[in-house]
């Protein structure tokens, strides 16, 4: 028996039918209104104060906060990004969309990726503004370290400002050196490799390999032409150069105990190697990292490092070094307030208030000495051994030795090294084999980006 039919089902049916229709119609309307709200929302609000939008990375947070505090009359929209680290293309993807829709660009942004000028200043993104044609004074630009604008300069136009130089030095631990029986700070790569045996005997390490920075440290640091733009649009990638093969051979000769395949920012590096690092050829900003590894503290002498001069390949070899990161400040050419944007970049990159909060050696020369003094006072660094340079001396010499033959290209060299070479090194592959893998993949990428590649 149908209960509806037996009890005046007609009205119920009508009510049922109306309710069903009403529910369905409401659901449709809600979905449509959600969709239309999403399309139509602009989020625009009139701000009385001049407004700039800053995209920054975690390490620059305190600098941006300092800017906001020092500029109460400017409304700052600060947006935390990943700084395009490891060449993951955060900014490229954002600008690809912004360029299509015609809005959404920041006024200024910070990049950890030192090849970003080559990518963001040119087609197809065309975002970075030219800074040396009126936006920033020549007198300000002249105070930046010699050569620091190389990665930012394309055809005589400067598209970014270096925040810090990130040049590689030789970090050494005086306490561990004494414990391991190493009597002097090495000056050549060969001496460093020989000391590896002494370090390994005590379970200590003299550096790492098999992370995305190998090329920046070892090959850039020995004039190995793996990314050398010899003329506009022409790239030299020659892994067979003796500068490359000699370095690969030297690295392959060091035991994996002394030079393990490891990454400084992996979750377990501190636990495994904190307090066991005798030497570390690496960037100037790393000095502040060592005392924070694993159970390390700034008071533990096993964890404090001093900076030595960059290693040379032989006593008569060229005094050159590489760089890891360094950071670049950009002004977006799409900014509606270019002057304010440029002044913000200048403040962040040159004021001592800001640079003292930066983990790296300032590219802006006048800030170097006070920045080093601040670092020295922090207690994070070891006292240099007798006859060895001070932090300031080591950094200043290294800053002038960055090899200019390592050109910024639109693709990320460190990404290629990480995905294509590191797996091979991790399973016992050699640096010599890794060079070939890298060169082949880099050449393919370079060609797809329109370069003429020769070796």
């Amino acid at each position: 028996m149908n209960i509806y039919r037996s009890s005046g089902g007609g009205n119920r049916r009508t009510r049922w039918h109306r309710r069903t229709l009403a529910v369905a119609a409401c659901a449709s309307l809600v979905s449509l209104s959600i969709v239309s709200a999403g399309i139509g929302a602009t989020g625009a609000s009139a701000a009385k104060k001049p407004t700039i939008t800053i995209w920054y990375d975690t390490a620059r947070k305190s600098m941006v906060q300092a800017y906001i505090k020092a500029h109460p009359k400017v409304h700052v929209v600060a947006v935390l990004k990943d700084g395009d680290s490891n060449g993951d293309g955060t900014y490229q993807s954002a600008f690809a969309l912004d360029n299509r829709v015609g809005h959404g660009w920041p006024d200024i942004y910070f990049s950890e990726q030192n090849n970003d000028a080559a990518s963001l200043a040119q087609a197809p993104f065309n975002d970075a503004a030219v800074l040396n044609k009126g936006l920033i004074s020549k007198s300000t630009l002249a105070k930046f370290a010699h050569g620091s604008a190389a990665l930012c300069t394309i055809g005589g136009k400067v598209y970014c400002l270096r925040n810090d130089l990130a040049m590689n030095v030789l970090w050494y631990n005086p306490t561990l050196m004494a414990q391991d029986g190493i009597t002097s700070v090495p000056t050549t790569w060969q001496q460093w490799a020989t000391d590896g045996a002494l370090a390994a005997a005590k379970g200590d390490i003299i550096g790492t390999q098999g992370d995305s920075w190998d090329a920046d440290t070892y090959y850039w640091g020995n004039e190995c032409p793996l990314s050398q733009e010899t003329s506009p649009g022409t790239l030299l990638i020659n892994p067979a150069s003796t500068n490359c093969t000699a370095m690969a051979s030297l690295l392959d000769g060091v035991s994996r105990t002394a030079l393990p395949v490891a990454y400084m920012f992996s979750s377990t590096f501190g636990q495994q190697y904190g307090g066991k690092i005798v030497f570390y050829p690496g960037a100037s900003w790393m000095g502040g990292v060592f005392p924070g590894l694993g159970s390390c503290t700034s008071a533990n002498p096993d964890c404090k490092m001093a900076a030595g001069y960059p290693l040379t390949f032989s006593s008569s070899g060229p005094a050159v070094t590489g760089a890891i990161g360094g950071g670049l400040w950009f002004v977006s050419s799409h900014s509606k307030n270019l002057k304010l944007a440029a002044s913000a970049v200048v403040w962040l990159d040159t004021s001592l208030t800001s640079q003292n909060l930066s983990p790296g050696f300032p590219a802006y020369g006048p800030d170097d000495a006070p920045w080093v003094a601040t670092q020295d006072a922090s207690g994070s660094y070891a006292t240099p051994l007798s006859g060895q340079p001070t932090l300031s001396q080591a950094f200043n010499k290294a800053a002038n030795e960055i090899w200019s033959g390592w050109s910024a290209v639109p693709y990320a060299n460190d990404q290629i090294w990480a995905s294509d070479v590191v797996p091979s090194l991790a399973t016992g592959g050699t640096q010599a084999a890794g060079l070939g893998i890298f060169a082949s993949d880099a050449a393919n990428l370079a060609r797809s980006d329109g370069f003429q590649v020769h070796s």
């Binding site: 149908n2 509806y4 039919r5 089902g9 119920r12 049916r13 049922w16 039918h17 069903t20 229709l21 369905a24 119609a25 659901a27 449709s28 979905s31 449509l32 969709v35 490891n86 060449g87 993951d88 293309g89 490229q92 993807s93 600008f95 690809a96 969309l97 360029n99 299509r100 197809p124 993104f125 098999g210 992370d211 995305s212 395949v261 490891a262 990454y263 920012f265 992996s266 979750s267 377990t268 636990q271 495994q272 460190d414 990404q415 090294w417 990480a418 995905s419 294509d420 590191v422 797996p423 991790a426 399973t427 393919n444 797809s448 980006d449």
Partner: protein
Amino acid sequence: MTVPPVAAIPGERSRARRGGRSEDGAPIGSSRLSGYVFVSLYVVLLALFGIAPTAYAIYLSLTKVGGGIAWGSNFTRAFQDFRFLPAFEHVAEYLAIWLIAEATLILVLALMLHSLARRTSAAFRFLFYMPGALAGAASVLVWLFMLDPTLSPWHFLLSILGYAQIDLVLQPSHLPLIFAIMAFWTGAGGWIVVMYGALNNIPDELLEAAKLDGANAFQSALRIKLPLIKKWVVYMLILSFAGGTQLFVEPQLVGQATAGLVSNTWSPNQLAYYIAFINDNFNEAAAISVTLLVLGLVGATLLVWRTKLFEIN
């Protein structure tokens, strides 16, 4: 013996009471109208977020970056890209592992569940379904911990296999298997529940008759149950194939979390993303997307055609 219709099988529809009244007494005409209104909700979203983007992708794939018709040049350039074939090879390996695992393990587990007592079966269904409650990105993070020998609760197992650190685990040759395990872990539970539901639609009388005829549990599963849920299996494979060819989140997140150990162009969808957003070439990227669409459609059409999925009994 009367066999009630297995109404939930895709492609089938109830033929009862056509032109009469629905079960609750509402005229069929009214039900039909309500049905249209309900479906309109889906149709609007499908048009906006399914058909329109697809049409736009097809348009982009056939036009040049600066405008003008490109015909097949975007496709030619994409096919000639040195990363194109490796990306498809990676996904083919991944799909082979994943689809075989789905077609076998899920069915075995569903059949086992179906043979258990209801209460025990419900507990297992809940357990199987739980990983599926994690969103894709969250499950990748869980697996990153599981696969890192220095963090994993299963480190002893990884150690026995000779993996002391994560870059040994994430070797290029291991990646298809690892991503297939991740996909299976998150997706299998849902499909096991669906297959269990399909098995429950099989009339008890049929299974009892088979039993009386002397069929053991294995024969009953192989000869009676599996043929009756075949269409569900095909439905699962179609959706999994289409989803699997679009693999993106797993390699992208694992690559980012391990400072680039997995290439950012490992899968075709990643390659399309790279070309769209790093090279700012949406047209060539659209060509790769359309290629994936065609592959999915061809795969689905073959399965539908060969298995007569939409045929009404």
